[in-house]
């Protein structure tokens, strides 16, 4: 934690996140700073949008619904978030009900980290089966079916939650990726990796995060824990998406260099790789450069046709507003 560096407040976290997302090298401070500023920008953008939505709703404080609204098109993420919130509820109640103290806290902590990494297993929830039954409240979205009707009947247990399936699919994909990544890791590396998975912008850094994200400035209200958690999740997603995209950019660049006779460097890389037979491969790789990140960001900000559709056959110029980076992750991958 480089407290001195005013800008780079999350350098370690970002490095860890990038590592989790596949960046094996040691990213330079410039890169992390860039990513941080991007993330900050995105968070602030989200907050602004949420405030607008909340105002439109007639509410002074932003709620989870507003955040959900922002990412409503990303079904997988929505379902993950809902799941997360549900389980958070469960955990809290479990924590409240059987006062085991540190154990439960550890559970929650683990669960949170797991969530961040996409591992939402039954593990932490397993002990509180009864609690789950009773307390697992559905996180309702305003556009869901139950809001169609005036009455809200209690859930029937046998109703299969299809979102879960969907979410499970996404989760499995993530797990698979993580598995691929960790397949050849040594024990130490894995430990490091799992440490890195717990990196979060918000976990136990709530105050710093609020400050960093400009809560006091952008929105007056005191954000709820849920919002902070969701933002934590989303920030992780942003970093991950950016990193993956940047890696892809770098890959393409390397490929281009290799084919278009960046001769010396290519051979150097080759030598490096060959030499890296006995070295940990991640160290052999060059880290992502700020340029890659910028390019990745540009790509992720690229407008799509849908936003421009109504401007076809007009002479208006489409001014794309800032887009949330995480939205396109699935489309891209």
């Amino acid at each position: 934690m480089s407290d001195k560096d005013k800008m780079a407040k999350y350098r370690t976290e970002i490095q860890q996140m990038m590592f989790v997302s596949g960046e094996t090298g040691e990213p330079s401070p410039e890169t992390t700073t860039l990513i941080e500023s991007i993330v900050q920008d995105q968070v602030q953008h989200m907050l602004r949008e949420c405030t607008i939505l909340a105002t439109r709703r007639g509410s002074k404080s932003i709620g989870t619904d507003d955040l959900f609204m922002l990412i409503r098109h990303d079904r997988a993420k929505i379902s993950r978030l809902r799941h997360f919130l549900q389980w958070k509820d469960v955990r809290r109640s479990v924590k409240d009900s059987d006062d085991k103290g540190g154990d439960a806290g550890a559970d929650v902590a683990a669960g949170d980290a797991d969530l961040a990494a996409g591992v939402v297993g039954a593990g932490p929830a397993a002990p509180g089966d009864a609690g789950k039954k009773a307390k697992r409240a559905k996180v309702d979205l305003v556009w869901e079916v139950q809001s169609f009707f005036a009455e809200n009947p209690p859930l029937m247990d046998d109703v299969e939650d299809e979102e879960e399936e969907e979410m499970n699919y996404a989760t499995l994909q993530r797990l698979k990726n993580a598995d691929e990544r960790t397949k050849h890791m040594t024990r130490e590396e894995y430990v490091h990796w799992s440490d890195c998975r717990q990196a979060s912008f918000t976990y136990r850094k709530g105050k710093r995060f609020k400050e960093w994200a400009g809560f006091g400035l952008i929105t007056d209200s005191k954000p709820s824990d849920d919002i902070i958690d969701i933002l934590g999740f989303l920030t992780f997603e942003i970093v991950q998406t950016l990193t993956e995209e940047a890696l892809r950019v770098k890959e393409a660049e390397d490929l281009y260099k290799k084919t278009s006779g960046g001769g010396a460097e290519a051979s150097r890389l080759k030598r490096k790789r060959e030499r890296g037979l006995f070295d940990p491969p991640e160290e052999a790789r060059e880290p992502v450069q700020p340029g890659h990140v910028q390019e990745a960001y540009r790509r992720l900000q690229r407008g799509n046709m849908k936003a421009r559709a109504m401007l076809n056959f007009t002479k208006s110029v489409h001014r794309a507003s800032l887009k949330l980076v995480s939205l396109l992750a699935h489309v891209k991958s």
Partner: protein, 1132 residues
């Protein structure tokens, strides 16, 4: 034949020998002589026009053109051109006459050249029709075709000359006597035909060419000028009209065979008629004789020129008038119409000593100042020569006009019979003299025989034989105007004078012979021989005559200048202009009348559509279509057919008295008939009834045009929406139940029954259209789109929405779809690209061009460009439609179970029996069996054995026990009656008790009813239920125990109750003294007691039919128990 004319006789009377001898040198010499003459003329004319092409160059060019044409002809396999060639060769026999005969006479330096020129002309300028017309109508075609073919195509000129001349010589030798009149006839006819062909071509071009109207004004002005001229001449003449000899009766003495013989001057007056009759000869059912007599009848008394005392005047003047009319009408005639004004050209009369103009000529004509053709022609030529002389600058515009007019003149002059007008006395005197002199001559008898006839007709055609005798008399006018001839024609070269004179001799021999022949119907062979000597006699003698022939002879070369002078317009247009000039002028004048002084003249007659005009239009159209069908490459026969049909039509029409206008249809726009759909035509059947055709094209707009198509997606969405409605229904019930649980007091209309109606897309009313295309109805389309948007709204969960939101979304959606379709159109209409693979087209020709995008690609592109991809569409269908359906049904189940739980709070077995038990909104439950669950015979029905009797488990639903719920339920569930009413029909309502049917009541009650009726003024009594809600009695209340006390169950005590009630009633009656009617009195009486059960029972059937089963059995004793229940309750 049967009417031998005086002219015949004359010729018979004067047979001249040695025609063969004469003709032969003529034929053989003509080449040389003509070439010399023309050469000289060329030189001479060169003085007038500075620039002339090198004759050799011209010759080469012609040769080249000719060869080209031949090659194309050969390649084209078209023998017509050979025919032309042959014809041309044949016509070379009379070069002086023939050259002008060509439509557009080109330089004819030699006879051979004349031939070439014609040939070339036919290729270069005339359109096919013209050419074909020429060839097909030319009687020479058949004869001359072989000759033409025989002609080597690339021959050297000299070779050709020899061959031509030898051939001509042979021909003229072979058929010397017959050939001449024939060719003269043909010549005349050919001139006519050419003219007609021109007109025909121009007319044909009506359908194919559009000429702008800019020349109309000129035409109109010219025509006005002409008319003015006429008027002027008329007025000037009117003073002298008294001096004009009164026209005598005259007939056309000479009518040849219509098809072969010309009719002399009559051919000018009646030429159209005759030509048509000729063309349709086989269709005319009349012998030649009849026809001829007919025509002579028609012509009788017709001519204003006819004068008994002036022999030949009618013919001569008629033809002269024709010629001058024709010339006058020409488009270039304008400057020559009137005398040159001294103001315009001050020095004119210095230069021109003998001014002449058409107006003056007309005057002279009217004054009968012309004695012979020659004088007339001299005057004409004088006009042009004056002009050429005065305007000596070679590029002067008037020169062109003058040259053109001269050319025209030369074309027309041969049509004038060479007749010298003589006094009758002279003629007769000469006749006598001649008869005396040539008494032994052939045919003298004939002529003598004919004499009386001729005399009786008062008409005698002068022959050229008389010319010599008349020379002296002719002299004065010739002197008058003939002297300037020398001046006006300084071109005659003195060097070659002898030669030209020599040539002129022969020429004149020809022309004079023709002139005389003009009058002959069928001159027998050999009769022409006398011409020669006469010609010889005169040729040297009269210089003026030489001039005439000079003019004739030089005609060809003179006309050559016009070519160089390059006509202002192309020939076709010129012909067109000329043909249409008069009518155009008329039409323009008509139009002009309306807009005179640059403003609309309201008083002028409007230009109206006329029946004749419309008929004409239709005919032209048909004609054009026919020609269009026959096509450009139509064979000769085709064209012939076409011509025949058209002429037959126009013949018929012409007889019908319809004037034929020589203008294209677009000059007569009011008479055009718009293209009518066949279905709209006025067609009558055999009975004369109009056939209604609207069934064939009026059609209903097929239904479903404005409703959503019946697709799988739409069905799914519909079912989703139905599901939502059902769920909402349950929702509403839940809400009511919840409310009932909270609220202590209920109001009558507190709960609105939620009864959504199913969605039905209304289609438009039946609309009749006449076309097949899409119905363009923006408002309807928008409404339909709005409806669809509304459905999507509902499908998305909005039960209701603001109209403004609906409008906004509709507009956006419309906009989006427009863009989508527009981009689709763009992709569709991308320029085609060439492909390597030949695509078999629908047409036979395989096209290498394929659309840039296939349909599918175009759709995908336009979707993509508008931000839609298939995945998102699929996701929508999967997520927002299909999964929504499953979610909705899940929600529905949840709602129902929730409702069920709400409805029976006391019973805990709610979820156990599963959702299947609640198929239609807890009806089973409501009519259900919870009382049995309790295990109590609630109403004691079992005890009564009613359950066995009806086979139904009688149990009272919960809400009956809880009055509040019951009422609420009733208010919302009135329709449940219908659903379960199938079990047992709802009984008919009791008739209200009235005076009429009171006797039907049981006797015990009757008196009471009567009292009630009396109180009610004999109005029928009102049932309690029908009272207004405020006056109604409160419903019976069950005690909190929920148990109905036993007296109700005890039938034994009914009588007792009845008795008691009666007693009470009586008491009451005494007390209240019939204040109100039944119910109110009861109400006051039973206050606080609650309604009797019997009352409840009575209204059961109406209220709800769950109770029907319960109520029914009690009805039996209902009448007995009637109103007793309060007492029974009291008693209990």
């Amino acid at each position: 034949m049967s009417l031998p004319s005086s002219r015949d006789r004359q010729n018979y009377a004067r047979p001249l020998p040695n025609v063969p001898r004469l003709r032969t040198p003529n034929a053989s010499m003509s080449d040389e002589a003509m070439s010399n003459g023309s050469h000289n003329n060329n030189l001479a004319e060169g003085l007038e026009t500075a620039a002339e092409d090198d004759p050799r160059v011209a010759r080469w060019r012609e040769n080249y053109l000719r060869t080209e044409a031949r090659i194309t002809a050969l390649l084209g396999g078209d023998h017509q051109h050979d025919g032309d060639d042959g014809e041309a060769a044949q016509t070379a026999d009379q070069p002086a006459m023939d050259a002008p005969a060509a439509h557009d006479a080109r330089p004819t330096a030699t006879p051979k050249k004349a031939a070439r020129t014609i040939d070339e002309d036919d290729y270069g300028d005339d359109d096919d029709a013209d050419e074909e017309d020429d060839t097909c109508t030319s009687p020479l075609l058949a004869k001359s075709a072989p000759n033409g073919i025989g002609c080597p195509s690339i021959d050297a000129p000299s070779l050709q000359i020899s061959s031509l001349s030898s051939k001509l010589g042979i021909e003229s030798i072979a058929a010397p006597s017959a050939e001449q009149p024939k060719s003269a006839d043909d010549l005349r006819k050919k001139l006519q035909q050419d003219k007609e062909a021109d007109e025909e071509a121009a007319k044909r071009s009506f359908h194919t060419m559009f000429y702008t109207l800019e020349s109309d004004r000129d035409a109109m002005l010219e025509q006005q000028k002409l008319d003015e001229l006429d008027r002027q001449v008329e007025t000037e003449m009117s003073g002298q009209s008294a001096a004009t000899p009164a026209p005598g009766a005259s007939t056309a003495p000479q009518q040849g065979t219509l098809s072969t013989t010309n009719l002399g001057a009559s051919s000018l007056t009646l030429k159209h008629l005759i030509a048509r009759i000729d063309a349709e000869r086989d269709k005319v059912k009349a012998s030649d004789t009849q026809l001829r007599s007919l025509i002579s009848e028609v012509r009788k008394n017709r001519s204003k020129w006819a004068n008994e005392d002036r022999v030949g005047q009618e013919e001569l003047y008629e033809s002269m008038e024709k010629v001058i009319m024709e010339l006058k009408a020409g488009e270039h005639a304008n400057p020559f119409l009137q005398r040159v004004n001294k103001r315009e050209a001050p020095d004119y009369y210095n230069v021109i000593k003998q001014p002449m103009d058409i107006g003056t000529m007309m005057k002279k004509l009217k004054q009968l100042a012309y004695k012979s053709k020659k004088e007339f022609v001299d005057d004409l030529m004088l006009i042009w020569a004056n002009c050429l002389k005065y305007n000596s600058a070679s590029d002067h515009p008037l020169r062109k006009k003058a040259l053109y007019m001269r050319k025209e003149t030369e074309k027309l002059v041969p049509l004038i019979p060479d007749i010298t007008v003589r006094d009758r006395a002279d003629v007769e005197a000469e006749e006598r003299r001649m008869r005396n002199g040539d008494a032994d001559a052939d045919g003298a008898d004939d002529s003598e025989d004919e004499e009386p006839i001729m005399a009786s007709r008062g008409r005698k055609a002068p022959s050229k034989g008389g010319k010599g005798g008349n020379a002296a008399r002719k002299a004065p006018p010739a002197g008058l105007e003939g002297t300037p001839d020398q001046e006006s024609k300084p071109a005659v070269p003195t060097l070659n004078h002898a030669v030209s004179n020599l040539k002129n001799e022969f020429l004149r021999a020809d022309s004079e012979m023709e002139g005389s022949v003009n009058g002959f119907s069928t001159p027998p062979p050999g009769t022409l021989t006398p011409i020669g000597p006469n010609g010889l006699l005169r040729s040297g003698a009269h210089g003026s005559q030489a001039d005439v022939s000079e003019a004739d002879g030089t005609g060809a070369s003179v006309s050559g200048f016009t070519e160089e002078d390059a006509d202002l317009d192309d020939l076709e247009y010129k012909t067109w202009k000329q043909v249409t000039k008069k009518d155009r002028a008329t039409i323009a004048a008509e139009r002009h009348r309306l807009f005179r002084d640059d403003q609309l003249q309201p008083d002028e007659p409007a230009i109206m559509r006329s029946k004749a005009g419309m008929r004409r239009w239709a005919r032209h159209r048909k004609q054009a279509i026919e020609e269009g069908i026959s096509g450009a490459s139509a064979s000769l026969a085709d064209v012939k057919d076409g011509v025949q049909t058209t002429t037959s039509q126009s013949l018929a029409e012409g007889i019908a008295g319809e004037e034929e206008r020589q203008v294209p249809d677009y000059y007569d726009p009011v008479c055009t008939i718009p293209d009518l759909d066949e279905r709209l035509q006025w067609i009558e059947d055999s009975q004369g009834h109009v056939i209604q055709q609207h069934e064939e094209y009026m059609r209903l707009v097929p239904s479903g045009q404005f409703t959503a198509p019946d697709s799988a997606l739409a069905k799914k969405m519909e079912s989703n929406m139905r599901q939502m409605q059902e769920t909402r229904k349950i929702c509403a019930k839940i809400g009511i139940v919840k409310q009932m649980q909270l609220q202590s007091q209920m109001y009558q209309n507190q709960f609105q029954k939620y009864d959504p109606r199913p969605f039905i897309e209304a289609d438009i009313e039946p609309v009749v259209v006449s076309e097949d295309g899409p119905v363009m109805a923006p408002y309807v389309c928008r409404a339909a789109l709005q409806r669809s948007v509304g459905k999507i709204f509902y499908h998305a969960g909005f039960e209701e929405f603001q109209p403004s939101a609906l409008d906004a979304i509709t507009d956006i959606a419309g906009d989006f779809f427009q863009k989508l379709v527009a981009s689709f159109g763009l992709y569709r209409e991308m320029p085609k690209m060439k492909s390597d693979v030949t695509v078999p087209d629908a047409n036979v020709t395989p096209a290498n061009w394929v659309p840039r995008f296939t349909q599918e690609e175009a759709i995908m592109h336009s979707l993509q460009v508008n931000g839609v991809d298939l995945e998102s569409l699929e996701t929508y269908v999967k997520e927002d439609v299909e999964r929504l359906g499953s979610k909705l049904s899940g929600m529905h189940d949840r709602m129902r179970s929730y409702y069920a739980e709400l409805l029976r709070p006391a019973l805990d077995n709610a979820g156990a029996d599963g959702s299947g038990a609640f198929n239609d909104g807890s009806e089973q439950f409501v009519g259900g069996d919870f009382a049995e669950d309790i295990g109590e015979d609630f109403f004691g029905f079992k005890e009564l054995g009613l359950d066995k009797e009806f086979g139904v488990a009688f149990s009272v639903p919960l809400h009956l026990l809880q009055n509040r719920m019951h009422k609420a339920y009733q208010s919302q569930n009135t329709n449940n009656i219908a659903t379960t009413g199938t079990l047992m029909e709802e009984p008919a309502k009791f008739d209200s008790v009235s005076v009429q049917n009171v006797t039907n009541q049981i006797g015990l009650m009757r008196s009471w009813f009567l009292i009630k009726l009396r109180q009610n003024d004999n109005q029928s009594l009102v049932e309690d239920e029908d009272l207004p809600p405020k006056q109604r009695f409160p419903k019976p209340r069950l005690p909190p125990t929920g148990k109905i006390s036993s007296p109700r169950k005890r039938p034994l005590r009914e009588q007792q109750q009845m008795a008691r009630k009666k007693r009470k009633l009586d008491e009451e009656k005494d007390e209240t003294g019939g204040n109100d009617h039944n119910s109110s009195s009861h109400g006051s009486f039973m206050k606080g007691l609650g309604k009797p059960v019997g009352k409840l029972k009575l209204e059961m059937p109406q209220k709800e039919n769950q109770n029907q089963n319960v109520a029914e059995p009690e009805k039996d004793d209902g009448s007995a128990v009637g109103m007793i229940s309060p007492e029974s309750i009291l008693a209990a």
